[in-house]
């Protein structure tokens, strides 16, 4: 019963949102708020149960501090790191690396993917080698890259770029190659030049898969960043993890993990939002 109410409220809300907020009525807003509140209430059950156990457990010393620090300690460390700007510094370095590496890797991936998707010849020539390289995860390349490039910034950017490059190239080439022939024919009947074909038929149709590729690329870029910082860095979030681990400062490790999770979540949501805007033509916000 409550499921039905939830569904009705959500779909009504979506329908109204599509038409613009002016058409909202007070009742609708109230209904939507109630459903939101209910969902949040369910969410809070898990922490409501585990948090007290954690707090009491660490007070009573049921678990050693190395296994599970006191929540207060974790918060304290978080505050400290925020206040001293230390956290911001590490986050900044990591973000910068990811952004640069992703830009390079995704850019190259888009270019190669487009070439592969548009030209059968290019695809034939490049695909076997590409697949072979794709089989080896970025993680495995790191020691090789370390031997060749040392442990400076170049190493990190290169590893991150490689991680982003593969999914972007694959999805871009598939997206471009899979634009329906039916639509290409429509362009032919209107005598579209190759440029017009690209701009009005191929690229718009390929945007969804390309975006999927970009999202995967970003996820892989993040993972690569953490890997390379775990192995070979003296700053950044990965370094924080290693340092905390070596000093047995579990609270630092947890703080770093939480920050990594939040940033990963935020960047994915951001790309999803951009994707949704670009794809308004697909579905009505369902």
């Amino acid at each position: 019963m409550s499921d039905a109410i939830l569904e009705t409220a959500l779909s009504t809300r979506r329908a109204f949102a599509a038409r613009g907020w002016r058409e909202w009525s007070g009742t609708m807003m109230l209904l939507a708020l109630i459903t939101r509140a209910k969902a949040t209430a369910w969410l809070l059950i898990f922490p409501a149960v585990t948090l007290p156990i954690w707090i009491i457990g660490s007070e009573r010393g049921w678990l050693a501090e190395q296994i599970l620090p006191r929540p207060a300690d974790v918060l304290h460390t978080l505050n400290e790191m925020l206040a001293s700007g230390e956290l911001a510094q590490h986050v900044g370095i990591s973000l910068l690396r990811v952004l640069l590496g992703f830009a390079v890797g995704a850019g190259a991936g888009l270019a190669l993917g487009a070439a592969m998707g548009l030209s059968r010849r290019v695809d034939d020539h490049v695909r076997p080698l590409f697949t072979a390289i794709a089989q080896v995860p970025a993680l495995a390349w790191i020691p090789l890259a370390m031997l060749l490039l040392g442990i400076g910034e170049t190493l990190k950017i290169v590893v991150i770029a490689k991680a982003a490059f593969v999914p972007v190239a694959m999805n871009t080439s598939a997206g471009i190659a899979n634009v329906p022939r039916a639509l290409v024919e429509v362009g032919e009947t209107f005598r579209f030049s190759p440029l017009q074909m690209l701009r009005h038929v191929v690229l718009p149709g390929a945007v969804p898969p390309i975006f999927t590729g970009l999202r995967y690329g970003l996820t892989h870029a993040w993972i690569a960043l953490v890997s390379v910082e775990l192995l070979a860095s003296s700053e950044g979030l990965g370094y924080l993890l290693v340092w905390g681990r070596q000093m047995f400062w579990l609270d630092t490790v947890l703080v770093a993990m939480i920050v990594i999770g939040i940033i990963g979540f935020a960047s994915d949501k951001l790309l999803a939002a951009v994707e949704a805007r670009l794809q308004r033509w697909r579905t009505d916000g369902v």
Binding site: L139, V226, S227, R245, M257, I258, G264
Partner: protein, 260 residues
């Protein structure tokens, strides 16, 4: 639609084209390392790499490391897949469990996998158990996600049929949801295998106790033996490829009733 008379390049043409770049690369490699244009420490000649490979196989190092890695991989995968299916079924079938846990799961899933290693190593140390836990964690995530999706997407129409025939709870799960979810579950297991292999290498890098391919690569790096590193990379890629292909083949055979 009937095929047009467009000249489509045959499979042999594609094959020929595909070999051009790799061959060129190999030739350039040989020339580069022999002529001394590139420091042979950075680019050992192919024969050296082959030689090292043979050596490592002959003295038993490579098979030993490979066996150790594969063993961890499969144990971790089995653990992760098992837990993953159970958790996936729970989250998919029980709307209560879904409401309580799913958002938290999605949040935890956002933490890059390798970031868990320091925590796991703090809890479990550096030995086999720690590595297997990490691998299991890595494998469980796609399994959970795909199992949930498989269960959720069991079409309402089929569910109604189950209701008409008054299936009991367990009957519903066994005769309807599980078979309907099987394709997705298999996809999840396929992805889980891929992630598990990645996690195996990662675990061996960071929890470097014990034999393994990852250990081989790390050793190669520390001793500046490029050939060893390259060998390790090739083995990693090869195993990944074989695992992926086998999983695909099995998946296709098991899901033949689907007209995909």
């Amino acid at each position: 639609m009937a095929s047009e008379n467009i000249a489509t390049p045959s499979a042999t043409t594609a094959l020929r084209r595909g070999l051009v770049l790799p061959l060129l690369l190999l030739v350039a490699w040989e020339i580069g390392s022999h002529s001394g244009l590139v420091n042979p420490q950075f680019l050992p000649p192919l024969e050296k790499v082959a030689g090292v490979a043979w050596q490592e196989v002959a003295n038993g190092e490579l098979p030993h490391a490979l066996a150790a890695s594969l063993k961890r991989d499969l144990l971790g995968f089995a653990l992760g897949a098992g837990v993953g299916i159970l958790v996936g079924l729970l989250l998919g079938l029980s709307s209560i469990a879904d409401r309580i846990f799913t958002t938290w799961f999605n949040g935890l899933k956002q933490i890059a996998l390798l970031a868990w290693i320091p925590l796991i190593s703090l809890w479990f140390g550096f030995d086999e158990a720690a590595k297997i836990v990490f691998i299991a964690l890595a494998a469980s995530i796609p399994v959970i996600l795909n199992t949930v999706e498989g269960v959720r997407s069991t079409s309402t129409k089929l569910r109604e049929v189950g209701e008409v025939f008054r299936f009991s709870g367990p009957q519903l799960v066994w005769s309807l949801y599980l078979p309907a979810a099987t394709p997705s579950v298999l996809t999840g297991l396929h992805l889980g295998l891929i992630y598990a292999w990645l996690a195996t290498i990662g675990a061996e890098y960071f929890m470097a106790a014990g034999p393994g391919i990852g250990g081989l690569i790390i050793a190669g790096r520390e001793r500046f033996e490029m050939a060893l590193v390259m060998l390790g990379i090739v083995v990693v890629g090869l195993v990944g490829f074989i695992v992926d292909r086998s999983a695909s083949a099995i998946e296709h055979r098991l899901v033949r009733w689907r007209n995909v």
